[in-house]
């Protein structure tokens, strides 16, 4: 059979978002790939030039909609750098807990989509049901299940509700058993291992060179995590370890390693949450009113021309950066330029190259194991 180009996407059950992957196949083997992005380009960077700094936070939630808390946290850190705002410690703890809960929810969403890609349709229901637990917690915090608009420049919008700490602890304890169940279902299944091991090798050098970050590179044995290399918030006071996986083979990290890193990250997030709720200043069962200085300090709303703010943040899928330039319209109330770096924007072209040499059936496995989210890619 001659070689032919197959277009996967933009509408395709596998693609985890709206993009096109054109693959050239020779029979069942992939010989070349081409990624086309830009289907969800919404012009966020341009829109933000016409918005106040507080008005930009909801836009950042919608960048990667599966992982909203982490993106708005990342933006708010850059805005605080630009506006020279202070954040009270209790607010930092709350932000950490919100980010880690969001990380759990995002990884569960990933697993719930990854399982059906490989063929295990049961995982979708299980993961989404468990994700409901965390979505409920985040809803109590932020008011909605997906786009919270929770962080403010200088703190958070409102404090944790009374009883939230107990609910969170109960759910985390239940969830730790659930992770064991997932591992029993998947790691002890030869079919799962056979589909994922030996597939999609990516070496550490290639990945660093290409700019891949996050769980994808930690699966290759490289211990870089922006939470400790470029420390922010109170990650240095909470008990955790970055989840790094020793790759099975000298050829690099395969899909199985990336899957294992995320499972372990979920465990680490649980650990962090249980630790943070014990250490939070002000107690875990007190509720300060909104705009109390325990959770929010008044931040300036204008940035002078020439000021810049930059944040390095560990999002669920990699390292995200925001770069803000001050001095925009409204006498500085709007930023002059907002620049967003999305980890997936760099990873997806790299992944398209990784797929060469494998079978067509491996494409969803490889693609899914890198956990793409096109909302943040296209902005």
């Amino acid at each position: 059979m001659a070689e032919m180009w197959i277009t996967m996407g933009p509408q395709h059950p596998m693609t985890h978002g709206l993009w096109t992957l054109r693959v050239k196949v020779d029979g069942e083997t992939v010989t070349d790939t081409e990624a086309e992005l830009g289907y969800i380009h919404r012009g966020v960077e341009k829109i933000c030039e016409a918005r106040d700094f507080t008005q930009i936070t909801p836009y950042c939630d919608r960048l990667c909609y599966v992982s909203a808390m982490t993106w708005s946290h990342s933006y708010v850190m850059a805005a605080e750098d630009l506006l020279e705002a202070e954040v009270p410690e209790r607010a930092e703890y709350i932000r950490l807990m919100a980010a880690e809960l969001q990380r759990l929810a995002s990884h569960l969403m990933w697993l719930g989509a990854f399982g059906p890609d490989i063929g295990n349709l049961t995982l979708m229901t299980w993961c989404l049901r468990d994700r409901e637990m965390f979505l409920d917690l985040l809803q109590e915090l932020g008011g909605s299940r997906m786009h919270y608009n929770y962080q403010r420049i200088g703190g958070v919008k409102r404090d944790i509700p009374i009883g939230w700490a107990d609910r969170m602890k109960a759910k985390i304890k239940l969830f730790e058993h659930r992770i064991n169940e997932y591992e029993m279902l998947l790691d002890e299944s030869t079919i799962w291992l056979v589909r994922l091991q030996g597939v999609g090798y990516a070496t550490a050098e290639d990945q660093i060179n290409a700019g891949v970050t996050g769980p994808n590179i930690r699966a290759a044995g490289v211990n870089t995590d922006a939470r400790w290399t470029n420390p922010y918030s109170v990650y240095d006071q909470v008990d955790w370890e970055p989840a790094v996986e020793k790759p099975t083979s000298v050829k690099g990290a395969d899909c199985y390693d990336r899957y294992r890193v995320r499972m372990e990250e979920m465990r680490q997030s649980c650990k962090m949450l249980l630790d943070a709720i014990e250490k939070i200043p002000g107690g875990s069962n007190t509720h300060y009113q909104p705009e109390d200085e325990m959770i929010l300090t008044k931040a300036p709303s204008r940035a002078p021309e020439g000021a810049t703010g930059f944040s390095t943040y560990e999002c669920t899928r990699g390292v995200s950066n925001f770069y803000l330039q001050g001095g925009g319209e409204g006498r500085g109330k709007h930023p002059y330029r907002v620049s967003i770096r999305s980890p997936m924007f760099i990873t997806i072209p790299y992944v398209a190259k990784t797929m060469i040499g494998y079978k067509v059936a491996d494409i969803p496995a490889i693609m899914g194991s890198f956990d793409p989210c096109i909302g943040e890619t296209d902005r």
Binding site: D117, G119, L121, R129, S189, V194, R195, Q197, Y201
Partner: protein, 504 residues
């Protein structure tokens, strides 16, 4: 042992009487036997087909409910109990307490134990019920049972589309091949010794010859749709189905060698008259048959040809309306046929289990034996369907096509040949025609006499124990110590995929 519900003979004789009575003294008198034959064939086929199709709804219903409950994490007992009660809190309650004389108490105890071991605990129910707000419809006894009829009606109302540059003749022909070959098999498969459509002498051979036409239809469908995805799906399917035909046929060959005949009725009869079900005499063959059948009917874990993650729907992407509905139904018909075939080949067909022993208990025994054979067949088929087909579907991911092919050709084929050899050995060495018996208790063909001691059912026991031991030994994981080195515990050390990467 012939089942007392002999519909077949009943229809045969009654049609003769009917036609000879109706056409007496008319010009059709001389051909009344031919008309009787026509009517008899028509009625037997209709009865068989109707029986299978109506009982097939049970399969679809079991799959839906069992699958959904496993997904819902409501636990094993709720999965089984809710098969006949509604969702959303509508239950029959603890119905076992209402059985007279307290006979239901053991059921209650088993239910309690299962709930403790495999069910959800108190606050977990909260989590589960939080999103379990679905409504149910259907008769209270069988909620959801009529869903599939509604689905069928929906398919009838959808648009028929033929892609503009598809090869129209083959596009129209392909579903016809798949569906008609599936339906033809249903004519051969007996539901009991008295309910069958046709019974040629080599019915097994004929049935599997027809079964093997379907891959051709699948490939036609994939190629003629003028769609790269369906082409890939069709080719994968053709390769997979061809690969698994051979272990399938070889395992059936093993069955036929043991039973000494290619006829369905005689194979089932043999299991009774020789004393054991063939499952215990050839467990390897049974497992091979099941695995090959799952691959033949393209269910998860072997459903790569229609893998929705890459191929949307594989070779049947372009079909709309009732064509798709019938193809979809044909897949379930094949699954059902596979389950019934397994029941016939390995589980004794329409014979009641332990007919001899239970048959001697005063009242229960008569009741036991009075259950028509068709009920036993269906129960066994449904059991196998639930435990093997549905459970495998819920728990397992898909295997990649080249891994499927490798598995079929390199692992199943030698095992199937081994099974044929074993069947030959058993038949030639251990079989003695004088030990067959047609009584209710059956025969004693496979008893072993070792050093003068007679072990009833000795050979099946030894065979089953041996293969069970092999299975247990192979299940053990050898790499436990090496795995301790890894930071996070996993099970295998070396990559399990072979020839996977171009860089290999």
């Amino acid at each position: 042992m012939k089942d007392w519900l002999g519909l077949h003979d009943f229809i045969f004789y009654r049609t003769r009487e009917l036609t000879s009575f109706m056409f007496e003294d008319t010009f059709l008198e001389s051909s009344s036997t031919d008309i009787a034959f026509f009517l008899y064939v028509l009625l037997t086929c209709l009865t068989t087909f109707a029986g299978i199709m109506l009982s097939m709804f049970m399969i679809l219903w079991i799959e839906r409910k069992f699958y959904a409950r496993v997904n819902d994490r409501r636990g094993a007992t709720t999965a089984l109990r809710s098969l006949w009660v509604g969702e959303n809190g509508v239950t029959a309650g603890e119905w076992w307490n209402m059985i007279p004389f307290g006979l239901g108490k053991p059921i209650g105890a088993i239910n309690g134990w299962l709930n403790k071991v495999a069910g959800n605990s108190g606050h977990q129910h909260e989590m589960v019920n939080r999103v379990g707000n679905r409504s149910w419809y259907g008769v209270t006894i069988f909620p959801g049972f009529f869903q599939n009829i509604a689905d069928g009606m929906k398919f009838l109302m959808k648009e028929h589309m033929v892609p503009s540059r598809a090869d129209k003749v083959i596009f129209e022909l392909a579903p016809f091949l798949v569906i008609s070959s599936t339906v033809m098999i249903l004519g051969m498969i007996p539901l009991s010794s008295g309910i069958y459509g046709a019974n040629p002498e080599l019915s097994v051979l004929f049935a599997f010859a027809i079964f093997g036409i379907a891959p051709l239809g699948v490939f036609f469908a994939g190629w003629s749709s003028n769609n790269k995805y369906t082409l890939l799906g069709g080719i994968r399917s053709a390769a997979q189905l061809t690969a698994y035909e051979i272990p399938l046929l070889l395992s059936i060959l093993g069955v036929c060698i043991m039973a000494g005949s290619f006829n369905f009725l005689e194979i089932v009869h043999f299991q009774h008259s020789s004393g054991t079900w063939l499952f215990f005499l050839m467990p390897l063959g049974a497992v091979l048959f099941l695995v090959s059948m799952i691959a033949e009917v393209e269910r998860i874990p072997f459903d790569m040809p229609e893998a929705e993650a890459e191929l949307v729907e594989g070779w049947w992407t372009e079909y709309g309306g009732m064509r798709f509905g019938l193809l979809f139904a044909a897949e379930y018909m094949r699954v059902y046929a596979a389950s019934i075939l397994f029941a016939h080949f390995f589980l004794g067909g329409w014979h009641a289990p332990f007919a001899g022993t239970i048959g001697q208990i005063p009242y229960l025994g008569d009741a036991w034996l009075a259950i028509p054979g068709v009920i036993w067949t269906l129960l066994k088929a449904w059991f196998i369907f639930t435990v093997v087909f549905v459970w495998a579907r819920t728990a397992l991911p898909r295997i990649r096509t080249d891994q499927i092919l490798e598995f079929g050709w390199r692992m199943l084929l030698p095992l199937a040949v081994l099974q044929v050899v074993l069947s030959l050995v058993y038949r030639l060495v251990f079989f003695d025609a004088s030990t067959l018996s047609d009584t209710v208790a059956g025969g004693w063909t496979w008893d072993l006499t070792i050093a003068g001691v007679n072990i009833p059912w000795g050979l099946p026991i030894i065979t089953t124990v041996f293969w069970l031991a092999v299975f247990m030994i192979m299940m053990k994981d050898e790499y436990i110590e090496e795995n301790e080195e890894r930071m996070f515990h996993v099970r295998t050390m070396t990559p399990a995929g072979t020839h996977t990467a171009g860089q290999e």
